[in-house]
Subunit: 334 residues, 2 copies
Amino acid sequence: MLIGDLGEAALLKELRALFAAADPDLPTGIGDDAAVINYPVGAQGVWTTDLLLEGVHFKKAWQSPYQLGRKSLTVNLSDIASMGATPRFALLSLACPPATSLDYILEFCRGFAAMAAKTGVVVIGGDTTASADGITISVTLGGYIPKGDAILRSGAKVGDAILVTGFLGSAAAGLRLLRDARTGIYPELEKAFVDPEPRIAAGKAAVEAGATAMTDISDGLASDLRHICEESGVGAMIEPGLLPYSMDFADAVSKYSWERESMLLSGGEDYELLFTLPGDIAQQVKALVAHQGGIDVTMIGEVMPLEYGIRLVDKAGCVRTMPEHGYEHFSGNI
Amino acid sequence: MLIGDLGEAALLKELRALFAAADPDLPTGIGDDAAVINYPVGAQGVWTTDLLLEGVHFKKAWQSPYQLGRKSLTVNLSDIASMGATPRFALLSLACPPATSLDYILEFCRGFAAMAAKTGVVVIGGDTTASADGITISVTLGGYIPKGDAILRSGAKVGDAILVTGFLGSAAAGLRLLRDARTGIYPELEKAFVDPEPRIAAGKAAVEAGATAMTDISDGLASDLRHICEESGVGAMIEPGLLPYSMDFADAVSKYSWERESMLLSGGEDYELLFTLPGDIAQQVKALVAHQGGIDVTMIGEVMPLEYGIRLVDKAGCVRTMPEHGYEHFSGNI
């Protein structure tokens, strides 16, 4: 069955059934002109949105529709996580050509719903429409946080330690494997690109631990660290030898003669968290964040005065400036 | 200057400046991973989203980018209005080909910002990306309403009067004029399609007046009335002779031999409000809603028992069933 034959009304009925939710904080969900939601008392709302286009952000051949559904929510969960907030309400819009199969859309939505259920998110609304060519996915995600607790990009202080969750470069490596049609060799690297895990628990743990600034690594470490430095009015020193990567990454880099450091610094879509903590407590709370977040945390450098700039300093004392760019959509990276 | 030459970072800088807002309820706006917002105490959130695609929902030749920006917000404002709520926070995502001119995008955003300013809305976030072909606009809009006051589609009661704001068919007529390249003859009809007015004040007035069910007429009266009937478990009797239309509409229908009734019943995108009120107070409060809403309100029929179905009954007593369909995106109406 194709979407174009099914018609909008029948498609909406399928989607309503799939996303049906009984939630005490959702008095009116999908099916009216707008959703009505309750907000927790004493909390602030935290909202983000992402647009994913076929051919720009994903290709159908790279992942199952189920994985694509999960990732469409995850990229937004990552933004909520990077504020230290709790995700709660999602709106999902889909544009697809009439020749798209209903099965593809339903599998996509099942993946989206599975990630939503796993993270306590309910789908409260959305929109569907025909497109001339290619699938477009727009997701808006709302969460909440106790008033004043949100960790912004602007709070990093000179002397803070710079930390990162998980591994860097895995998603960039996965994308490269998919583009080079070297699939099935390093499934974990592929998964890092097509089906990353949102770091919600780690984000909350970073709030508890007293993080001063936080962002997610969607554009690559170089770009996202620059965002923190610009917003905080500081510089940064990163020790490249401390950048965490997986054994599979090391193996693939060596096998295919990839540029390791460039992938670690500028590879996008890792969806790990990058955050800063007062230097004197960093070592102690690092373990706490790792424990509560269920993911390793690595100290990779230190916040420096603005005039220092952003530099890479290796153990031998060799100093370089951080490369300028990460992931740039308008220069057509994928 | 083209978007593709400018690059994403520079574009974001332009958009940030354009949408910069000092708002006490927006502690963190555009520029972080997510926005942080305050919610009014005792209120519920009301959220909606719409996706607009070039070639499906609009063509560049049909309106200025400024008008397109206004309408992109208005179609969402209309959903918030139809709940009786107050719009407040918008997220705007844009995908456009690298060959799009920066001027076009900035004019679009100026139109969006102007409609936002007019309606008390602040832009709290968004996303930009390159597209292979065509502009895609995704808007999510949040508002609020005192707890329990939202007017749903499901509250219509047998015996209620059925009312509509403004004129029907104007947008359908405007679209037809644009498609037939008969522009400049009926500017009000064209405006109804390319730059409709959101009925926010009328929506709030309908809440005050005790409306039992409400929706906006985005898919056409036939479809949107059916939504109310289905959700409320009722039928409806509409008197076609009472359907309100403008003098320009009558003139154009007569000049071009269009099917008047079909355009009034099934023409989409009017963004007027369709609501029900207890029959015994309808006549009195109609004037109140019209006064507070700044727009004429017309009684067009009555809510009937479910088994009655949805019928058209003219003054002579001739009975017909309501046509099934309004605006169907997947059947490619535009």
